[in-house]
């Protein structure tokens, strides 16, 4: 039972992070390798807001979430906008560079020690016992629920919302989308801010659960295989991919070797790339036109 809970919690973490990769990739075909750093930035924003809104934990959390939304849009407007139409490698490397920058800045501002935003906000993290003798902490539970809510909202938005539809359209054929009056920069900025928002949510909830250090981005890197296993442009796939990766990781750690933790997602990734590179539910990349 505890194993199952661990899998679900880890899968939720991976899924919530992975949908950020999927959103940006789906809309602009760019892989955001700074996602982990932006996620960590979100967690640190809570820390900053907790001192700003001392005594108002809800206000502080809301402020942090809104700020992360704005951060995503700003990242697009001031950085990634310049990279539209450039080589894919250049765009990816720009995100890498952004990640390095954020990492450095975070350490400079908040130092590299482990910090506990939950304490700063003055909220506790009680543990519940579930039937079947499993334990889950409050914030892990919130994370699982948030994840479900986020996926539900994103699904609805992309499927039925007019802007969601436009995001899908822009992802498939940006030129045509621009020609049909869709403001590409608007759509891309929207994708970046939504992606940063979901990432920051994951970061914030993890930080509330177990604190935050400068090494948090590694988790996002491990969530990347989840996105790829499901198919980089499929939201539902990311959810299932996260379950597969988390399941493999938890079980292998438990039964084989704890050292494997960092490498399991990548083993899954390599296996997937050999068998079905475009993922379980992804669309096959188009072949070259002769």
């Amino acid at each position: 039972m505890q194993l199952l809970i661990n899998i679900v919690v880890l899968a939720s973490i991976y899924a919530l992070i992975a949908c950020g990769y999927v959103l940006i990739y789906r809309v602009s075909r760019v892989l955001n390798l700074a996602h982990g750093e932006l996620m960590m930035f979100g967690a640190y924003l809570v820390l900053a807001c907790s001192s700003l809104f001392a005594g108002h934990p809800v206000m502080a959390l809301c402020a942090a979430v809104i700020l992360s939304l704005v951060t995503g849009a700003l990242v697009y407007i001031f950085l990634m906008r310049k990279m539209t139409g450039e080589m894919v490698l250049a765009a990816i490397l720009t995100t890498v560079a952004l990640g390095i920058l954020v990492r450095g800045v975070v350490v400079l501002v908040w130092s590299s020690q482990q910090q506990y935003p939950a304490q700063a906000l003055g909220i506790s993290n009680p543990t519940f016992t579930l039937p079947g003798d499993g334990h889950i902490s409050l914030w892990s539970l919130v994370l699982v629920l948030t994840n479900l809510a986020a996926y539900g909202a994103l699904f609805g938005f992309l499927r039925f919302g007019r802007w969601g539809m436009r995001m899908r359209a822009a992802g498939q054929n940006p030129l045509l989308a621009a020609q049909r009056g869709i403001n590409l920069h608007g759509v891309y900025a929207l994708a970046w801010s939504l992606s940063t928002l979901t990432g920051a949510l994951a970061g914030i909830l993890m930080a509330l659960d177990s604190g935050v250090t400068g090494s948090m981005p590694v988790i996002a890197l491990k969530a990347f295989p989840a996105a790829l296993v499901g198919g980089l442009d499929s939201l539902g796939g990311a959810l299932i991919g996260a379950l597969i990766v988390a399941g493999a990781e938890v079980l292998l750690i438990y039964y084989v070797d704890p050292l494997l933790s960092d490498v399991v997602p990548f083993l899954v990734l390599v296996a997937m790339l050999f068998v079905r590179p475009w993922g379980l539910f992804g669309t096959r990349e188009e072949l070259d036109r002769v």
């Binding site: 310049k82 250049a90 560079a97 083993l267 790339l273 050999f274």
Partner: protein
Amino acid sequence: MFRPTPRASGYFRTDYAQDLALLQTRAERIGLAALVAILVTLPFVATPFLLDLACQVFLASIGALSLMLLTGYAGQISLGHAGLIAAGAFTTGILTREIHAPFWVTLPASALTGVVLGLVFGLPSLRLRGLYLAVSTLALHFIVIYLGGEYETKRGFSTGILIEKPSLGGFKLTDGRAWYFVLLIFAAATLLICINLLRSRSGRAWRAIHARETVAEALGISISGYKLLAFVISSAMTSVAGCLFAYYRGFVSIEAFDLFLSIQYVAMIIIGGMGSLLGALLGAAFVTVFPYAIEALLKLLPNVQKLAGDIFAVNYASFGVVMILFLILEPLGLVGIWRRLQNYFLLWPFKYKPLAGTRK
């Protein structure tokens, strides 16, 4: 191809031998002679610190050249370069530790590891392209690092493997000056190998694959063969760099080969300038010297005490900024700047003037 610099008018090649010559004009010959003279005299005037810096630049140059071959010319993106360096270093470390293998055994052995890993890293490239390939190399990087970490913990070298300095024909390599020359020779050899590979059949095939695979295949180029060849050659050279790194440092530990190192190598070829060997060299020098330059700059600032503890973070942040600036403002890298300077002086006193109205 190799050197697309404009030449002064009146220079014509009149036979094939001239076409094949590496150095074609007197200016080039004089330039090279001057460079060699400087490089040879440098260790006798430089401080130990500068000597060490030069050695690091040479090591980075080997790695950057091999990555340039793979990414800049053959167009196969790799984010796992640090993994290959680690492989070379660990092969050396393990062999010296376990069977006390001498230098002339570990070096070929590292190269062989590189060849094998190159095949492994290259296999996904037969099916994957672009982004997916980059991701698969990233994954392999983590796997190599994991295997290294396993070895360290299982054998009880949890802090790293110590390696004795190698001896060449009874002459023990401990002196910084000796190392300088050894690494200089290796780097020069790598450069020569790269130049000759690129101006021969394989180089042309790689460039064709880079430009458009389907067309290259239609022209009779074996895609899978040349892709694997690119991976194998590049990883072999990288592993040799790893082997030299292990000996030079006398110490191997997985902490030295994190993802940041891979990124640094990719940054070298981007900052240097894609598709140019000169770019790889310039990039290697730039990225290697960069942290020291930042440190020196920080010392000039008044509030040293406050930032001294976070020098690492300052490095990170400024490196990110520099990379972003290069990507956005100068996609051609240092080589682009170099060429523009060259053009400026070659065309002097005339100026390159863009067409009226084409300025955005």
